[in-house]
């Protein structure tokens, strides 16, 4: 402990004291009301100083903060939509932030905090959403995976990006700014193999036009000459019923 306990007011307030030193200072505060008052007043003064240069954040930050809070109370992922039950995990959302937003707007939250089980389930669900985000980030930054970009028109914004994991025979798909579909329509991914269109996963973009699919099974990559996306009736089709909206060749 220093000779002058007043020298420790700021270090204590800033969390620089630890262990025995912090405990000694706290004992001193407990026995010295003047010191305790000095600490309290200093803390308030430092807070006022800290808040003295306001800079308004972007308006969407509030939406994000509130969405995250709501999600922490019981986020539920959008329903899986795939023609191959269990073959792929589909989230009708973009990245984790838009995932949470979509969940928030589509759910009626329970307002009570008394239901501990609900809170625990909510926490687990939120952690699951975070895990999905982390998984996605890991895949899109894995140097061993092949990146494929599907474009409708190079001059337009909508894109679908896929990361092909040849070792695992899986792909991850992320779409942005997709045109909205009718209520009875979905997008569907196709593998072009030997001149035939092999159906794959079905997905529906969220309100922002984003969609994400993880662990989509893919046939032996050597046989895939192209991938394409069409608009199909809800649930997908066994064979394409419309011309491809997105297409890109694969391989050499």
């Amino acid at each position: 402990m220093t000779d002058n306990p007043r020298d420790l007011v700021m270090p204590w307030l800033l969390g620089e004291l630890a262990g025995a030193e912090a405990q000694a200072f706290e004992r001193l505060m407990a026995s010295d009301p003047d010191l305790a008052e000095e600490v309290r007043a200093t803390g308030e003064a430092l807070a006022a100083m800290a808040l003295a240069t306001p800079v308004a954040p972007r308006p969407e930050l509030k939406t994000r903060v509130l969405a995250a809070a709501a999600a922490s109370k019981g986020a539920v992922l959008p329903p899986i939509a795939t023609r191959r039950s269990g073959a792929a995990v589909w989230l009708g959302i973009g990245l984790a932030a838009s995932l949470i937003l979509a969940a928030v707007t589509s759910l009626e939250w329970r307002s009570t905090a008394a239901d501990r089980d609900q809170l625990l389930a909510s926490r687990d669900s939120a952690l699951g959403a975070i895990a999905v985000r982390d998984s996605l980030l890991a895949r899109f930054t894995d140097p061993e995976l092949e990146s494929v970009r599907l474009v409708a028109d190079p001059a337009k914004d909508p894109t679908i990006r896929m990361m092909l994991d040849a070792k695992r025979g899986r792909l991850t798909l992320s779409a942005a700014e997709l045109p909205q579909l009718g209520a009875n329509q979905d997008y569907q991914l196709w593998y072009i193999i030997g001149g035939n269109a092999v159906p794959s996963v079905v997905f529906h973009p969220d309100a922002a036009g984003s969609a994400l699919a993880l662990d989509v099974p893919m046939p032996d990559r050597g046989t895939i000459t192209a991938v394409a996306v069409t608009i199909e009736p809800t649930g997908g089709s066994p064979a394409p019923t419309s011309t491809p909206r997105f297409v890109t060749p694969l391989g050499e």
Binding site: T2, N4, R6, D7, V9, M10, P11, L14, G15, E16, E38, R40, A41, T42, G43, E44, A45, L46, A47, A48, M49, A50, L51, A52, T53, P54, V55, A56, P57, R58, L61, K62, R64, V65, L66, A68, A69, A70, S72, K73, W109, S111, T112, A113
Partner: protein, 192 residues
């Protein structure tokens, strides 16, 4: 509704209370974070993390340890320091200290207009503004390095090539003036 009432409501799961608290403090906290991390996007990340923490830990808030404003500021500052340390920016910030230092008191700006904040907090903010304008630059420097850059007093002494005792004295005098702008300045160096 007081800040404490809002935090109590947050502890009950009231998202509207979180929104109200956000309205009161987001700009101030974002300004704090921006001064520390220097990049707007990072600052907003810090603010979002701080409010997320406040939401999670609202039930732990203890008004006896200080007001909500100090609680929010502490969380924001901690998150900002985490970010700075995680990204190894401290070395760069050291080089930028001359830019970062609010040596011009006018640059400290004016307190945010928060209609719902208690009058006494407004008064305190005014006092702090006055004190900041009148603080000798060497005292302001110590406060800045400790508060906004997270340096310990020993680190500040090394950075400024100044005896530790002098740093402690400057800090103590500065804090005294921040608590009470009318506090008479004692001669510096008595503890050296």
């Amino acid at each position: 509704m007081t800040d404490e009432s809002l935090v109590a409501a947050m502890a009950r799961g009231d998202e509207q209370a979180l929104g109200a608290l956000y309205d009161r403090y987001a700009a101030g906290l974002n300004g704090l974070a921006l001064r520390m991390v220097r990049e707007p996007a990072d600052a907003e990340e810090v603010v979002a993390d701080a409010f997320a923490q406040a939401w999670r830990e609202a039930h732990r808030f203890d008004g006896r340890r200080g007001p909500v404003s100090a609680w929010m500021v502490t969380m924001t500052r901690s998150r900002a320091l985490d970010l700075i340390r995680a990204r190894g920016r401290r070395a760069r910030l050291k080089d930028e200290v001359a830019v970062a230092m609010p040596v011009n008191p006018v640059a400290m700006g004016t307190p945010p207009a928060v209609p719902s904040r208690a009058a006494e907090e407004h008064e305190r903010a005014d006092h702090v503004q006055t004190a900041l304008r009148e603080l000798p630059s060497e005292q302001l420097e110590v406060v800045h390095l400790a508060y906004f850059e997270g340096l310990s007093q020993r680190e500040i002494a090394t950075r400024l090539d100044t005896p530790l005792g002098t740093v402690k004295t400057r800090a103590r005098l500065a804090l005294a003036r921040l608590r009470n702008p009318l506090h008479a300045l004692a001669p510096e160096g008595q503890d050296d």
